[in-house]
Amino acid sequence: MAKGYNDPAMETRFQDRYYHSADNPEFTKEVERISRTIAHMCFQCGTCTGSCPSAPRSSYRIRKFVRRAVMGLEREALTDPDLWLCTTCYSCTDRCPRGIAPTDIIMAMRNLAFKWDIIPRNFLKTVQLIYTTGHGVPNNDVNRAARVKLGLEAEPETTHKYPEYIPGIQKIIDHYKMKENADRILAEGEH
């Protein structure tokens, strides 16, 4: 089976000319700016891929993504679904002989992919949960009952017990239009 997102909205997007732009030297700069790491120092030794728990069980190759960053291969990097197979374990970062943080290069590329509306749905759902409850993994009734049995309060001392803190969090998220974009991208995938 060919690699793909199994998401019709995303496939349609890839047909668009916008997603076939030429290689872009600005991409290297953007990745370095967001990741705060020196991607261009990479000499392609492969220590990162050799350290990577995702490499032996997929076609994900962190060394390849670092190369794409340095070469400005924006479309190749941002449309490859392997971008989302990094567990952010930072083993590559601790072992890179050039002092690069390949993990942070991946994180920067994911941020840039989001700007292209390329992002798996689970990430967007986390955004929605945090926006509405303050928690990525919110409380539930089974857990409330268990908490009470333990002598804890049903709601923890977080935004759950003090929902008056949630509007502040929403202001932060809205400042970057994160929720708005997440909602829009999720809605596009729904019809």
Partner: protein, 296 residues
């Protein structure tokens, strides 16, 4: 008494409340008082949320830190994911004016300001620190030693890596959590590829569950190979991945495991005489009884 603002995160209070209850009770016996950090949110998740927009990750983590600054207390926490967000954002904002200014511009909208006046610690780190607690004090607090059990330690990734941005010195073969485990009367065991990830992080658990579980499965093979009776960790997300993950591995791959998974604070609670009920061990996906039965 050493006092800290206790940052809860999501998975401990909302999935494994026994970890939260144990952290508070066990620490009190060690002279560490955990104070509620009112109105804290998700750290937010460094991978699953940071992947979308790191600007928001910095600002939301900073909001949590400012809540503790307002209490004038250092933060402690019991989750590696939280540690990455809260510890790392705190350090980065202290060191980088450009980042701090950007974050403070946003925080000003909600009348907050990041000052950089507190520090962030993982609770396990405080337990190991002789100035705060230390291994001897842990050993002295044990009333029901976990004698007869073999325990494999999973450090988790974000506690120690990236090592350049941590207080710790070794992310390849650390042994300090083993010391904390041995202090409970248990025997810590070494296994192949100890520092490998549990597989949950970076949003991979949500994006490609089979891929993520395959990493977990490899760890389970390595841990059971050396005869461990349980895995311990210091991260409720790793705990979820190993614990619920064993059930998912059975569903997806047809491989059966039954290896109990306990947070270090749950182990410490047991060793200090807390009952399985007081630790809500019944909320675990994998039955902890085989482990409890091993204790002599």
């Amino acid at each position: 008494m050493h006092e800290y603002a206790f940052f809860l995160g999501c998975i401990a209070p909302n999935r494994y409340p026994g970890c939260e209850a144990a952290a508070i009770k066990t620490s009190r016996k060690l002279g560490i008082e955990l104070l509620p950090l009112k109105g804290a949110s998700c750290c937010p998740a460094p991978g699953a949320f940071g992947a979308v927009d790191l600007n928001v990750w910095y600002a939301m983590a900073a909001r949590n830190i400012v809540l503790a600054e307002q209490m004038n207390k250092d933060i402690t926490l019991i989750c590696n994911g939280c540690y990455k967000s809260i510890y790392e954002v705190n350090e980065r904002l202290k060191e980088n004016d450009d980042l701090r200014d950007g974050v403070n511009e946003v925080l000003a909208e909600i009348d907050m300001e990041f000052k950089g006046s507190i520090d962030v610690y993982h609770l396990a780190e405080l337990y190991y620190d002789p100035k705060i607690c230390g291994v001897d004090k842990i050993r002295d607090s044990v009333t029901r030693p976990l004698t007869g059990t073999k325990i494999a330690v999973h450090y988790g990734c974000h506690l120690l890596k990236p090592i350049k941005e941590r207080r710790f010195t070794d992310s390849e073969n650390p042994m300090w959590i083993e010391e904390l485990v041995d202090a409970l009367g248990a025997e810590s065991v070494q296994y192949r590829n100890k520092m490998q990830c549990c597989g949950a992080g970076g949003g991979v658990r949500g994006f490609d569950l089979a891929h993520s579980l395959d990493i977990t499965n490899e760890k389970l093979i390595n841990v059971t190979e050396v005869g461990a009776d349980a895995i311990t960790e210091v991260c409720p997300f790793c705990q979820l991945q190993y614990d619920r993950g064993q059930i998912e591995i059975k569903e997806k791959f047809g491989i059966e495991w039954a290896l109990p998974v306990l947070h270090y604070n749950e182990l410490l609670g047991l060793a200090q005489g807390m009952t399985p009920q007081e630790l809500a061990l019944d909320l675990h996906g994998i039955d902890c009884k085989p482990f409890l039965d091993k204790i002599r």
